[in-house]
């Protein structure tokens, strides 16, 4: 349908991307009692940490191997070993998610091999699982790192054999752009069919903004590590977004669990497809509350479609989120005037806009301005672009650091789609194109002479 066009600039101006290592860390944050560890200089961790804290407004457990110039040149195995030792003593996590960075990948370290010999040397770390996810910053973005970490966990924790299938157990692999509240909403729907879902990663357990009774140096809540190995016994894997295909395939390769990739869960038709699958899997009819929710979405679409018609939106997001949001807008009658994404991807090719530009927020500003757009949908960094061209911004994606409750917004499923529809529809209502008043030249003017005295 379209060709993703790579921007021709050498210099990214106001980048849209966050790093793959950050995405990897975020995925590990969806596992219970885990602690992500970035293998790089301490700045790699500090920046990622600050950004995650600003987005979620939560304390984020995240550590660093604190690589120096010397250890980078000589190899970082010693730093990894020290880091694991210190984390083990201080935080005692069940899982450490080791994400590489551009720094360590440039040297092409054999982290996997190093890790194996380190773990052999330390039988006292028996209960600790260390998973290594390759997440070089020079290849891809947050979405890629997230997918890489999920696949790494599956490769490390799911046994390589066909297991007895557990009836009614399904795997759910959420997309990187799904908020903790999104994850919860989808899981609730899956479970409403009497299915039990193993969600990996499960941010709804760890980053949903709860106030624990005591200090925990690791994540508190999320997918239990033991449950990850149980994924090999599920009936099916439901993967959300094209970027989760690799992880779903890995699971099938290891344990024969078939999978289905849903390119999105935003929009009526898209979620209908998901629900149909659940009906087939469970052999049960859709529960009454879900039917009611669908009906409410249908009603919202009837009420709201007027306000989307004839409007134009510019959207910048990672490929799978871009696809989900632009398809939904398209289905509501809103034109996509500009689409900017972070990299080439099969998802980008299905976006209803031509071209889809691989670029930055500066490209978004330029395209939105020349394409006469009424609305920008992008992360919080796009506020500058939106201000510059005087167009409202609806914040979605990562990071959103200037709004409360970034992690609590729901935009998937029937209910989430309805909320998204209301949010965006209300912006369109606020910014209706007003007619320029026409001033009649020959209008009769009142004067003292025109008053007929009594």
């Amino acid at each position: 349908m379209n060709v993703a066009e790579i921007g021709t600039k050498a210099c990214a101006v106001n980048p849209l991307k966050s790093s793959p290592a950050l995405g990897g860390a975020l995925a590990f944050l969806g596992v219970d009692k885990s602690l992500p560890l970035l293998h790089g200089s301490q700045g790699c961790t500090a920046f990622a940490l600050v950004l995650l804290v600003r987005h979620f407004r939560e304390a984020i457990p995240l550590q660093t191997t604190a690589m120096s110039e010397l250890s980078t040149i000589l190899g970082g195995a010693e730093n990894i070993e020290q880091a694991i030792g210190n984390i083990f003593e201080r935080a005692n996590p069940k899982l450490i998610g080791l994400c590489s960075t551009a720094l360590t990948e440039t040297r092409d370290e054999d982290v996997r091999g190093d890790l194996r010999s380190i773990m052999l040397r330390h039988p006292e770390w028996n209960d600790l699982t260390v998973v290594h996810a390759p997440t070089p910053d020079f290849a891809g973005s947050l979405e890629v790192g997230w997918a890489s970490a999920v696949q790494a966990m599956i490769d490390a924790l799911v046994r390589e054999e066909r297991q007895t299938r557990i009836l009614r157990q399904v795997n759910l692999l959420p997309a990187s752009y799904m908020t903790p509240a999104d994850v919860e909403a989808v899981r609730d729907v899956v479970e409403s069919f009497g299915l039990s879902a193993i969600v990996l990663p499960d941010l709804s357990g760890s980053l949903d903004g709860h106030v624990p009774d005591e200090y925990v140096p690791t994540t508190l809540g999320g997918t239990p590590v033991d449950r990850v190995s149980d994924m090999g016994a599920s009936q099916i894997t439901l993967a959300i977004g094209e970027h989760m295909r690799g992880a779903a395939e890995a699971l099938e390769r290891r344990s024969g669990v078939p999978f289905k990739v849903f390119d999105r869960l935003i929009g009526l038709e898209a979620f209908d497809a998901f629900v149909e699958t659940l009906i087939g899997l469970s052999g049960r009819p859709a529960p009454e509350p879900l039917r009611r929710e669908r009906s409410r979405l249908v009603d919202a679409m009837l009420d709201g479609h007027f306000f989307f018609t004839g409007r134009t939106a510019a959207v910048a997001a990672e490929p799978d989120m871009l696809l989900a949001v632009t398809r939904f807008l398209d289905e509501m009658g809103c034109r996509i005037g500009a689409a900017v994404t972070t990299m080439k991807s099969p998802a980008a090719a299905k976006v209803p806009c031509d071209p889809v530009v691989v670029g930055d927020l500066d490209d978004l500003e330029r395209l939105a301005s020349s394409g006469d757009c009424d609305l920008i949908i992008a992360n919080a960094h796009a506020a500058v672009a939106a201000d510059a061209i005087g167009v409202p911004l609806y914040r979605m994606g990562f990071p959103v650091f200037d709004r409360l409750g970034a992690g609590h917004r729901v935009s998937v499923g029937y209910r989430g789609t309805r909320e998204l529809l209301f949010d965006i529809g209300n912006i369109f209502i606020d910014h209706q194109t007003e007619h320029q008043p026409y001033q009649r030249q020959d209008r009769e003017v009142a004067s003292d002479a025109s008053v007929i005295s009594a």
Binding site: K9, A10, C11, A12, V13, N14, P15, K17, S18, S19, A21, L22, L37, G40, S41, Q42, G43, C44, T45, A46, F47, A48, L49, V50, L51, V53, R54, R57, E58, A59, Q63, T64, T65, A66, M67, S68, E69, T72, I73, Q82, A83, I84, N86, R90, T101, A102, L103, T106, R107, P136, D137, F138, A139, S141, V211, E214, Y215, P217, H381, V384
Partner: protein, 464 residues
């Protein structure tokens, strides 16, 4: 080359901690202790260099590296500007795998050209991050060529993250300014009242609480290094009569070098707290008069101080009773520690402990003098201990930076941001009044009673 510069940065006769070290320890630098794998916190040298230079508002700041360095960090600091906006724009070469394999020099050169053509900034600072340092990109040569070709200063900032801490990055940035910017231009005029303010980054507009006072005294800030700065001003900074260093440990080398090279005397001071603010004004006036400014500056300064102090105290007195004896835990770095301690004590609050992880020995002596010998001085407080202290109700408020914000909030303890992400200006007399107002509003906020109350099912005698 970089190695040598790092070693030089660690050799600081102006720093008391440094003087007290053996040669061996000195070589190791001042931050090696903080870099423990698996137990480290804090930014890298690149971060520190960017913090120190980015407030130069009419320059473009181009980060040469893969996406993490700029993509994860831009648009996060609140260093305010009174004019140019270009410094806020996030520029990065966003190095790809191919750049790593073939070298990133060509892309860097083109990126510089794009910025020069499209924005015409006063200068372009090019930050070298770990990956280009590792693959040996010759950034220096690229910058020299670009300077000639495009006719504007293109300045390499060689402070890749892996050489050390944020603090070291501050120092390396100072060195860059000294070696490549200061003294490259001449001001149109000079006055006997010209000073530089060094190490003040105009976070939340802090500088703007100070400048009106200096204006009233006829004191001109020739260059601010680097809050709300313009490139040209820093290039002319060598013509100032006196230097004030605000964020002591990081930028004292800069001030000492200016003393060596240009015979500009300096002092270390602070704009936080009423008595420190007054002391800073007095010291500025004294140095300028020593350097030949008319002596009436001293009396004018005293008159201003008296009036400002009176006004500030009048506004603060409203809160004094409400804050008397309230316990503060202060967790911040460097000069802010002692300076805020004395400020809080001035209004009758009890500082139960303060961090000194970035403070010099002089700072520590000063804090002990203020808080007494058995004052609790902390290095890095592990989050776990911080949680325990706050959960154990050892403090009525935590004042710190964003990193520890959620540790405090999860214990339902009032928290106030005093670091770079904050939105309120706390410098100067006005700033102090505003700080006191914020502390009061934070401690006495109606939310605490509600969030601390037990849930209905946790109340004594609640039914199941």
């Amino acid at each position: 080359m970089l190695k040598q510069r790092v070693a030089e940065a660690f050799n600081e006769p102006g720093c008391a901690t440094n003087r007290g070290k053996s040669d061996q320890d000195r070589k190791r630098g001042c931050s090696s202790a903080a870099l423990t794998p698996g137990a480290a916190a804090g930014g890298c040298a690149f971060d520190g260099a960017k913090v120190a230079l980015q407030p130069i508002t009419d320059a473009a700041h181009l980060v040469h590296g893969p996406i993490a360095c700029e993509g994860n960090s831009w648009d996060s600091r609140h260093s305010a500007t009174s004019g140019p906006q270009i410094y806020r724009t996030g520029f990065t070469t966003d190095m790809s795998e191919l750049d790593v394999i073939h070298g990133g020099e060509k892309r860097l050169y083109t990126a510089i050209r794009e910025i020069a053509d499209r924005y015409r900034p006063a200068a372009i600072f090019v930050y070298v991050t770990c990956v280009p340092a590792l693959i040996g990109d010759d950034v220096e040569t690229v910058c020299t060529a670009a300077t000639e070709r495009f006719g504007l200063p293109v300045i390499p900032v060689d402070a890749p993250g892996f050489v050390g801490s944020k603090n070291l990055g501050n120092k390396l940035a100072g060195q860059v300014l000294l070696d490549r910017v200061v003294g490259t231009r001449e001001p149109e005029k000079t006055t006997p009242y010209d000073i530089n303010i060094i190490g003040e980054y105009n976070v939340a507009g802090d500088m703007w609480q100070i400048l009106p006072l200096l204006d009233q005294l006829g004191i001109r800030v020739l260059a601010s290094i680097s809050g709300d700065a313009r490139y040209h001003e820093i290039a002319c900074a060598h013509r100032a009569r006196a230097n004030m260093v605000v964020c002591s440990q990081a930028m004292v080398s800069f001030a000492r070098a200016m003393e060596d090279r240009y015979a500009i005397p300096y002092f270390e001071g602070s704009f936080y707290g009423i008595s420190d603010m007054s002391a800073a004004l007095r010291e500025i006036a004294r140095l300028l008069v020593d350097q030949g400014a008319p002596a009436d500056l001293l009396t004018r300064t005293e008159t201003l101080i008296a009036a400002e102090e009176r006004a500030a105290w009048r506004q603060i007195s409203v809160y004094r009773e409400r804050l008397q004896g309230k316990r503060v835990l202060l967790y911040t770095g460097g000069v802010k520690s002692w300076s805020v301690v004395s400020a809080l004590q001035e209004i009758g609050m009890t500082v139960i402990g303060t961090s000194v992880r970035k403070s010099t020995d002089d700072d520590k002596v000063r804090i002990k003098g203020l808080m007494g010998e058995d004052a609790a001085l902390f290095g890095q407080i592990p989050a776990k201990d911080l949680y325990r202290m706050l959960a154990g109700d050892e403090a009525d408020i935590l004042m710190s930076g964003g990193r520890t914000q959620f540790v405090a909030l999860k214990t339902k303890t009032p928290w106030l941001d005093i670091n770079q992400e904050r939105h309120h200006a706390y410098a100067g007399y006005e700033g102090m009044v505003s700080l006191v107002r914020q502390i009061d509003a934070t401690i006495h906020h109606p939310v605490w009673r509600q969030v601390r109350a037990p849930a209905p099912w946790d109340k004594p005698g609640a039914g199941q």
